[in-house]
């Protein structure tokens, strides 16, 4: 069970107001995306949830307990894979759970197999392709015991083909493990394709400008990307974003 709720979060760095009155929830087993122009403070939201900073105002709650300024309550996948070059794939994948102190070698090996990385358990990151590194980084966050996963633009560095491949892969793994996911992106299509809800942020200082509930049935596949309905949604969100900038 994981219920994340942010209420009235505000944060400034020096004199610039970055976030202003950010409130939203992520329900159990829900996939929520935050969409916003670059530099709109998306990463700041993550750093606040991760407990790297204290919010100036407001509170962050996970399952009813305040986690503002408390580290280690979420599992995290950064923009770059951030694998440790001196660890093998298996050791890298187990790092998240190792930090919390609960390692499960068997489960990790199984997950690697399921993620299509079987046979690479003992490979070092420099021997893996970009897509494989991203998969490893995602498995690492899945294997961490925390109930909420935060993904920070994980596919932004990949090419178009690999990205779609990875999105489908992510959906299939997610539908199996059903964790709560908070996903940050600046790609409208990606947000639409993956999410249950999309939150559009305004320009600085960031507020939640509009919330879209995405009605597409799951499981979703790529044919969805070309349907009339999908394009309508894309247009609606695009117009929302254009009004910001």
């Amino acid at each position: 069970m994981a219920e994340l709720s942010l209420t009235g979060i505000a944060k400034s760095f020096e004199d610039t107001r970055v976030l202003e009155g950010i409130s939203f929830d992520v329900h159990d087993a829900e996939f929520v995306s935050i969409l916003g122009p670059s530099g709109s403070g998306k990463s700041t939201i993550f750093n606040l949830i991760g407990g790297l900073y204290q919010p100036d105002e407001g509170d962050i709650k996970l399952d009813g307990e305040s986690i503002a300024g408390k580290r280690g309550s979420i599992s995290y996948m950064p923009q770059s894979p951030s694998l440790f070059p001196w660890r093998t794939l298996l050791d890298n994948v187990m790092l998240g759970s190792e930090i919390v102190g609960q390692q499960d070698r068997e489960a990790s090996l199984q997950m690697i197999e399921k993620a299509g990385l079987g046979g690479y358990e003992n490979a070092y990151p420099h021997q893996l392709s970009g897509g494989m590194k991203q998969r490893a980084a995602f498995i690492r966050s899945l294997l961490s015991p925390q109930p909420l996963i935060c993904l920070d633009e994980p596919f932004s560095a990949l090419d178009e083909f690999t990205r779609l491949e990875m999105q489908k892969w992510l959906l299939s793994l997610w539908s199996e493990y059903k964790r709560s996911v908070l996903f940050v992106t600046h790609n409208i299509e990606e947000a639409l394709f993956l999410s249950d809800r999309v939150m559009v942020l305004s320009d600085r200082p960031a507020r939640v400008k509009k919330e879209f509930k995405i009605p597409f049935e799951r499981p979703r596949d790529e044919s969805l990307l070309l349907t009339e309905e999908f394009l309508e949604w894309k247009k609606a969100i695009y117009n929302e974003l254009r009004m910001i900038t």
Binding site: F46, L52, R71, G72, W86, L95, I99, H126, G130
Partner: protein, 256 residues
């Protein structure tokens, strides 16, 4: 191995050529042996005089090893302390740099005045020589930890101890080893210098005795022995490095 043979023959050829020129020159110009001995004479002395300098060599190896171990552990320890306590780093970093600027040759006689002719002043000299490269390279290695990985560790809720042992320390290892390689060669030099100060045995003693009695061939023998010792030491550290940092890519990054 084939790679070494393929790449190694050119520099080897140059070295052999130099020795040939040296040998021929000493014969053609009839240079007296006390001035510059020919390579063949040096090799002769190196083989036949083995029993003369054997115990000197062992003594120097022992001194170098002890000094190296003390010097590098001290350097690593200081680097870790300075890294973990930033205010201390700001206070002491300039001092470390100053320590490198002390001319050892000048300091050495002072150490003898203070500590006599025993082991202690010699170990201090070697420690001083080893300390700087290892401390600075370790400190740099620790400081240049990738910010991305650091951010991940913090977001994942790692404690400071976990950040140090799982991230910063392994990240600093390659840098630490480059420091070790420099320290290893320096430590041999430090040992020889410290033996000049006054010692019962050691390559440094053998060398001073040889030069004061115009046994130039023996001086050359000691030069080559010191070189060989440094090189062996260097290769040992390189082998250790290869084993410890076997995860390192061999220059080919897979980006696809």
């Amino acid at each position: 191995m084939r790679n070494i043979v393929q790449k190694g023959w050119r520099p080897l050829l140059v070295i052999i050529l130099l020795f040939v020129i040296w040998e021929v020159a000493t014969r053609v110009f009839e240079i007296p042996a006390w001035l510059i001995p020919s390579p063949s004479q040096v090799v002769d002395e190196g083989i036949s005089g083995w029993s003369v300098y054997e115990h000197h060599l062992y003594s120097t190896i022992l001194l170098t090893l002890i000094g190296f171990i003390i010097g590098t552990s001290f350097g690593i320890l200081v680097a870790i302390c300075l890294h973990l306590i930033p205010t201390v780093r700001n206070m002491f970093y300039p001092l470390i740099i100053f320590s490198q600027n002390i001319p050892i040759i000048v300091l050495a006689p002072l150490l003898v005045i203070w500590f006599g002719f025993g082991m202690l002043p010699k170990l201090i000299v070697i420690t001083l020589v080893c300390f700087f490269p290892i401390a600075v390279s370790t400190l740099d290695g620790l400081r240049q930890t990738s910010t991305e990985l650091m951010h991940y560790m913090k977001m994942a809720g790692a404690s400071n101890g976990q950040i140090f042992w799982k991230l910063e320390w392994p990240h600093a290892l390659p840098s630490l080893f480059s420091g070790l390689k420099i320290s290893a060669t320096y430590s041999v030099m430090g040992a020889v210098i410290s033996e000049w100060l006054g010692a019962k045995e050691g390559i440094g003693v053998y060398m001073t005795l040889a030069s004061s009695s115009f046994r130039t061939d023996r001086v050359f023998v000691s030069i080559f022995v010191i070189m060989a010792l440094s090189l062996t030491f260097f290769l040992l550290i390189t082998a250790l490095e290869k084993w410890f940092i076997r995860w390192k890519s061999k220059g080919v990054e897979n980006s696809g």
